[in-house]
Subunit: 425 residues, 2 copies
């Protein structure tokens, strides 16, 4: 009985948050670039002014996390030290400096009947953001959404609730001083799971859900949501070394893609090597990677070339290790490489190292991933490296946005059609 009451109360609370977010979104749609940037700078100032109270709330989260036995990786992500606070505040200022994504004329044309069409970028509306541990996402995502004239409903991890609340409070207070509408940025203030369930099914009030966190969280959100979801489950990224690869480039690219930061989604998980180059090149690559502490798991052919390599199982080909582990497969040319990537990959980021123009073209055309590279590391897939500024996430979905989800991807469009009294014949 008690539980049902609580669930109903949570449902009511979240519905009200949604209703208010929609209302605020109608107001924010009318705001111009200057006003939005003024609000963002006020938000940055308020975060700066409130750093002490944000940190003290964060310290309580950290203490509670340790008591609850969170592992060190989670504790680290939760920790909002001075350097991270600096970066978070600077991030908001940087977003103010980016070009306004709203009101761009994407296309315009005139028909013979005199109707003038303008396809214009407009805000998506209300964004629901669901995320784990890192409290800085509260500020990053909030600032990005506001810059694109979207209102945002934030639902952070329960272990970071105090930190997130302190950040959101500072942002709301700072923004309000420069005219941010009430409820344009809201944090769901309860820890219950029902809140998430309600958020992801409020089609009437929420236009898109962006989940960030482990694959489990993202699957649960996607399976239960009726609101559209922008997401990636994982990044199983490939480096393909062609028969006509520059061997030095290939070595430095696989090293960078695997080792520079193995725990991120655009790191490589599988190395594919054309058989014509494998005997000569693969042993060098193996030595280099093993010297960096990488465990190699190979197919039969690669294990013949590099004895001592562990055997890769079928499961390895679709595994995101997020660790210093790499699966290795010798392939019979570029077509098999492309087939392997399209079959086992996650549609995130894949690269071919090759000097052969035709191979470059066919790889670029036929690999069905958000970012397809020729002679460059997969690690470049993020909003900043693409030149988009900050990003709110990466999408491996195929609709609306693929790859980095930055300001332009936080807009949609409408058609404004101007006539002089035209009616349909």
């Amino acid at each position: 009985m008690e539980e049902i009451k609580e669930e109903q109360a949570t449902g009511k609370l979240v519905t009200e948050i949604g209703r208010q977010a929609r209302e605020a979104s109608r107001k924010l749609m009318g705001f111009g670039p200057a006003q939005k940037n003024k609000i963002l700078l006020s938000i940055a100032d308020a975060l700066d002014a409130q750093r002490k109270s944000i940190r003290s709330e964060n310290l309580i989260d950290l203490e509670e996390g340790r008591e609850k036995g969170l592992n060190e990786a989670l504790i680290d992500r939760l920790d909002l030290n001075d350097k991270r606070l600096d970066a978070m505040i600077q991030g908001v200022r940087d977003i103010a400096d980016l070009p306004d994504p709203v009101g761009r004329i994407l296309k315009s044309w005139k028909k013979e009947n005199g109707l003038e069409f303008r396809k214009t970028s407009v805000p998506i509306g209300v964004i629901g953001m669901i995320y784990e541990s890192r409290p800085n996402v509260t500020a990053d995502a909030g600032a990005l959404c506001l810059k694109a004239s979207n209102t945002i409903i934030l639902r952070g991890g329960s272990e970071a609730l105090r930190s997130n609340r302190a950040i959101a409070d500072a942002m709301i207070e700072g923004g309000r001083a420069s005219g941010l509408p009430d409820h344009a940025l809201q944090l769901i203030p309860v820890r219950s799971r029902e809140a998430v369930q309600k958020l992801i099914t409020m089609d009437e009030y929420v236009d898109v859900i962006i989940p960030r966190g482990g694959e489990g969280l993202i699957r649960a959100v996607t399976e239960n949501a009726t609101v559209p979801v922008l997401k990636h489950y994982k990044g199983v990224c490939h480096v393909y070394v062609d028969g006509e690869a520059d061997r030095e480039k290939a070595l430095s690219i696989i090293e960078n893609a695997k080792c520079q930061r193995p725990g991120v989604c655009n790191a490589a998980e599988t190395l594919l090597v054309d058989q014509s180059i494998a005997t000569k090149w693969l042993p060098k690559a193996a030595r280099l990677l093993e010297s960096k502490g990488v465990e190699l798991r190979g197919c039969d052919q690669s294990r013949e070339i590099v004895p001592g390599m562990k055997q890769a199982t079928e499961e390895d080909w679709s595994t995101e290790y997020l660790d210093l582990i790499l699966s290795v497969k010798v392939v019979d040319g570029i077509d098999e490489a492309i087939q392997h990537i399209n079959r086992y990959g996650s549609g995130h980021s894949d690269t071919a190292v090759t000097e052969n123009r035709e191979h470059q073209d066919v790889f670029g055309r036929m690999v069905d991933s958000a970012a397809v590279y020729i002679n460059a590391s997969t690690r470049f897939t993020d909003g900043a490296e693409f030149g988009m500024g900050a990003e709110i996430g990466i999408s491996t979905g195929r609709l609306h946005a693929r790859g980095p989800v930055a300001l332009e991807e936080l807009t949609t469009y409408k058609y404004v059609v101007t006539g002089q009294g035209q009616i349909k014949e």
Copy 2:
């Protein structure tokens, strides 16, 4: 027991259809414009050659439909007479003539580190199409999807199964003669509901679902789908007559928007009139509309101006009549009109009749609909009128596509990034 077995068999069948559609999609991605157009023309020829067998299957559907007691409207939509067959075949030829939507460079840029970015339009992949009665959709949707290098899984209404099967068979046979990959176009050949349930939850094999039909069908699909859905529920479209409207334009636009074809989604359902013009203009409009057989349902103020008008209830403001009925409301200026539209509208198509430049601007900017018109009828919202050629549907969703869903909207994009060995610092 029997039922469970049947369900499992259907699930297996549809899964296999999905797997094959994905495989075919990988092949189709490599096809150029010339080959696709050749396939489309072969399809049109095959439909023409098979018209007799298509019609004879259609006659059986019609007979069974009459026996089952389908109403006249449904029977009419099911009827594939000669004229409609001609239009269907010509539609496929017209699609061959449209520009290829795949492989367009949407944007390209170069970063200081030498990386070259090309944002390129690519097929979405596998489209699931769920539709009711009209068998011509089989050919229209099939041809549009193939033109954009997508494979398609069709699931038509069970009352049209024989007609759809005859059309799909002719298309597959005709297409194959020109190199259409097997399984690039498939029709689910069973009548059971489980087939739909499976189709809309096969995330692995299906990239987007496009449902066309009544609001009930579309809601059921949306609520149960895990695959993204492009759709519109309904069109509650508005004509707003401003205080500074050209009165003659206003009369012809409301007449056209309401009466020219009341049963379609871009027909007007609500007339909003500024109070400063209502006393003079509304009686004229009422006389005109009533002479065309339109039933008016008004707010208190409009009923004072036009006595005898029926009273509009709260429900009327969000009702899609699809009939010669119009709700009428007097508003206090453009801001109230915009608020009313954003609150009760369906985000489809809305128009303002006004000569005032500032009012035109604010209406274009603040009305949150897929198509916002100034001084033109709402009836123009469709792919052909927009100059996009044929459309597969209209979207009132906010992600990926808004308004007419035509060839460009049946593509997505990827980034092809070319370097010379760049690694991430």
